[in-house]
């Protein structure tokens, strides 16, 4: 079969099984768009800004586990995509981004809409390619998907000069079934010797804790993690990225850890004598001050990326492996082993944890006559029966979503953790809804974040992706304001806007339903109304208590045992209890 470059590109994507392309046209990709026009298998989702394309593809990838695919033009189209590429990179999300480039003969001449996309994205991609030969195009696409989806996943950019896709240059097409790259061989299974050493530590521990993260979600190993946790009987905490990998309503789950983690999770980390880290990368939001991190613990670390191991925290036993086979192998060995964790020690440990838990660190004023953001999230949980896909933006609302919506399944909680990209939530929700049209999809956002990709409301209308936008409107960049309250004596420097749009009208202008909610008693009915409108995108503008803060909080330079807790019920405060 002879095809031109544009056709090869589209046919390769088809052969790769791609369902959706999120994109935006322009000069350098016109040949490709022409080829797209002449086929019906792949659905192209026309976004309103290239950042939206990357976030939507990212949301699709996080919810399904399949790589997200993006198509943008050269120059500004490509640079607009960079934030979304970096977002995917930081959270290890598989994504293939095809960017148009100026024609080969003019590369380097400051041609119209030329940017060095390979150079610009180099530090925020797993890998990138510039295609210089049309006969290499299909193979390059195959490699891009292979690299993006294997090992520690990540975004891959394929930069395609316009002349490579020229209609009149046809070459034989064959999509490779497999590729191998001699310089890239991701580790798969674990070293048995290391696993045995790990099991010796696990069974000898008195105050053990499982600290698991996004790697379990990425590696589709929730089942294995749950089984192992149940077998061991240990307490388990998840990172922000790991939420849902272990059921949050399970008795052994003690909440998220880290900066805004629960008191019991952070105290348990601090006091533990053994930590088993599974697909988590000891991020600074998790560890707090490094020299105060887990002073009594030995550490076992399972991770597919050797560079994640002993990067910030030195570990005692490193297990480089894909998480699923590692946990399977571990279960086998535990079953065979005659060593068992001490029941008595575990009982005492659980007793201690329950004591920590009894302070109810997530309690808040339920009698306020203002809408508490936490209450909105709790009600959302009830209305959606805990079954929704929840995307979020970045800020206080993100933390409340993580704290008050217990996720029992992986891939339901979709947020930007590593880069912390405001603007992520809405386009991500659209990507999720396209993948799961029958599921409830809600975006928990703030009035500042949502404005960063608000234009995608238009995309939601065009492709009939009825998502529910839960805007926790505190008329502040709440997260910034909170830090200013705590560390800058409440000098609220530019953390609010004097003009906030009327979101109801805005939603209506985009052809959607807008509902403004000002009283606590209206929260539940409004949510029910919104979710009853099955085929409409609904923008719920909750006017919340603007002084509310996220607790607990580990402030900069502090250890896990040194958390700032809410003092009295109700008002925000900067006095310390603990």
């Amino acid at each position: 079969m002879e095809l031109n470059g544009a056709e090869i590109l589209i046919q390769s994507l088809k052969d790769e099984g791609v369902e959706f392309i999120f994109g935006y046209p322009g000069g350098a990709v016109l040949h490709i768009y022409d080829a797209l026009f002449q086929q019906n298998d792949i659905k192209h989702i026309l976004v309103r800004h290239e950042q939206g394309a990357t976030h939507a593809a990212d949301g699709y990838a996080r919810a399904t586990g399949n790589p997200g695919v993006v198509l943008v033009t050269s120059g500004p189209g490509a640079t607009n995509a960079v934030t979304g590429i970096a977002t995917a990179y930081m959270d290890s999300i598989p994504m293939v981004v095809i960017s148009g480039q100026v024609s080969m003969p003019v590369i380097g001449s400051d041609a119209f809409q030329e940017v060095d996309m390979v150079g610009i994205t180099r530090p925020c991609v797993k890998h990138n390619y510039l295609v210089k030969d049309v006969t290499k195009l299909a193979e390059t696409i195959k490699k891009a998907f292979y690299v993006a989806t294997t090992g520690r996943p990540g975004p891959v950019v394929v930069d395609v000069p316009k002349d490579i896709t020229a209609p009149h240059i046809k070459v034989p097409y064959k999509y490779p079934k497999k590729v191998s790259i001699r310089s890239y061989e991701p580790t798969v299974s674990a070293d048995k010797g290391q696993l045995k050493k790990a099991i010796d530590l696990l069974t000898a521990a008195h105050r053990p804790i499982i600290y698991s993260g996004g790697g379990v979600v990425l590696g589709n190993a929730s089942k294995e993690l749950t089984e192992l946790t149940h077998t061991l009987g240990f307490p388990i905490t998840n990172t922000l990225m790991g939420l849902g990998a272990f059921p949050a309503t399970d008795k052994q789950f003690i909440g998220m850890l880290g900066m805004h983690g629960t008191y019991e999770a952070n105290m348990a980390m601090h006091e533990s004598d053994l930590i088993i880290a599974i697909g988590a990368r000891f991020d600074d939001r998790v560890t707090g001050k490094l020299d105060l991190f887990c002073p009594y613990a030995k550490i076992i670390h399972i991770d597919i990326d050797p560079a994640s191991i002993s990067k910030t925290v030195k570990v005692d036993i490193a297990i480089v492996s894909d998480v699923k086979p590692a946990l399977e192998q571990m279960m086998e060995l535990i079953k065979e082993s005659d060593k068992k964790p001490s029941k008595k020690a575990l009982e005492a440990w659980w007793k201690q944890i329950k004591e920590w838990k009894s302070i109810n660190c997530l309690d808040y004023d339920r009698n306020s006559n203002l809408i508490k953001p936490q209450y909105v999230v709790e009600q959302l949980y009830q209305v959606t029966k805990g079954n929704a896909y929840i995307t979020s933006d970045v800020g206080q609302h993100q933390m409340w979503a993580a704290q008050y919506y217990p996720f029992d399944k992986p891939r339901r909680w979709i947020n930007s953790g590593g880069l912390g990209t405001m603007g992520f939530g809405l386009p991500a929700a659209i990507g999720v809804k396209l993948a799961f049209p029958d599921a409830d999809v809600a975006c928990i956002t703030g009035e500042a974040s949502v404005q960063m990709c608000i234009q995608e409301l238009s995309t939601a209308l065009q492709y009939k992706t009825p998502v529910k936008i839960i805007n926790l409107n505190n008329r502040y960049m709440g997260m910034v304001r909170q830090w200013q309250e705590f560390t800058y004596e409440s000098r609220y420097s530019h953390s609010y806007m004097d003009t906030i749009p009327e979101f109801v009208k805005l939603a209506e202008a985009y052809g959607h339903v807008g509902i403004r909610v000002e009283k606590p008693e209206d929260v539940r009915p409004a949510l029910e109304e919104a979710f009853a409108l099955k085929d409409r995108t609904v923008f719920l503008d909750f006017i919340t208590d603007r002084t509310e803060n996220v607790y607990p909080m580990i402030e900069a330079g502090k250890g896990h045992h040194d958390m700032k807790l809410r003092v009295a019920l109700g008002t925000s405060t900067d006095r310390e209890l603990a």
Partner: protein, 163 residues
């Protein structure tokens, strides 16, 4: 401590910038970097000299290995190895100093490869610290120009870096 890291990398455009970019992005220092194709035209060999604590060097080698284009690498500090660097030094000469400079060059097994009425160019090969010593041995005010290739290295005996 000084480490010489030897890298086999795909001979593709951009491969060098991936390595250089990694070092600048992560704040590692590069003392020198040399690169050229090998007997296999699809592979380049890069020699990188860096300094850092054991932890930093461990991260550097892991991060380098993580680059898709990197095929293999070794840290020569871990094995018996030979290190060589080439240096060209232009030295100001006068009737009086010629003899003395030539003597020093001889001691370091340097060669004088160019002579003008007022200058010599001395070529010296050896481990980097030998080149340092040569420079220290020449009166600084006579040195006009120093060009160093950066160190390259190879491990001794059976062990080595090849496909």
């Amino acid at each position: 401590m000084k480490h010489i890291i030897s890298i086999l990398i795909e001979n593709e455009s951009g491969a060098l910038s991936r390595v250089a970019g990694l070092f600048s992005a992560r704040g590692y220092n590069i003392e020198s970097l040399t690169v050229a194709a090998t007997e296999d035209a699809t592979l380049s060999r890069m020699t990188l000299v860096t300094r850092g604590s054991e932890d930093v060097i461990e991260q550097i080698t892991k991060q380098l290995n993580k680059l898709i284009d990197v095929v293999k690498l070794i840290d020569l500090a871990d094995t018996a190895h030979i290190e060589r660097e080439l240096m060209l030094v232009k030295v100001k000469t006068t009737e009086k100093t010629r003899e003395e400079i030539k003597n020093v060059a001889d001691i370091f097994r340097g060669k004088i490869i160019d002579v003008t009425p007022t200058s010599y160019i001395v070529e010296i090969t050896g481990p980097s610290d030998k080149l340092d010593s040569f420079i220290a041995a020449i009166d600084a005010k006579n040195i006009v120009e120093v060009v160093r290739s950066g160190a390259t290295g190879i491990s001794r005996g059976e062990k080595g870096l090849h496909l």
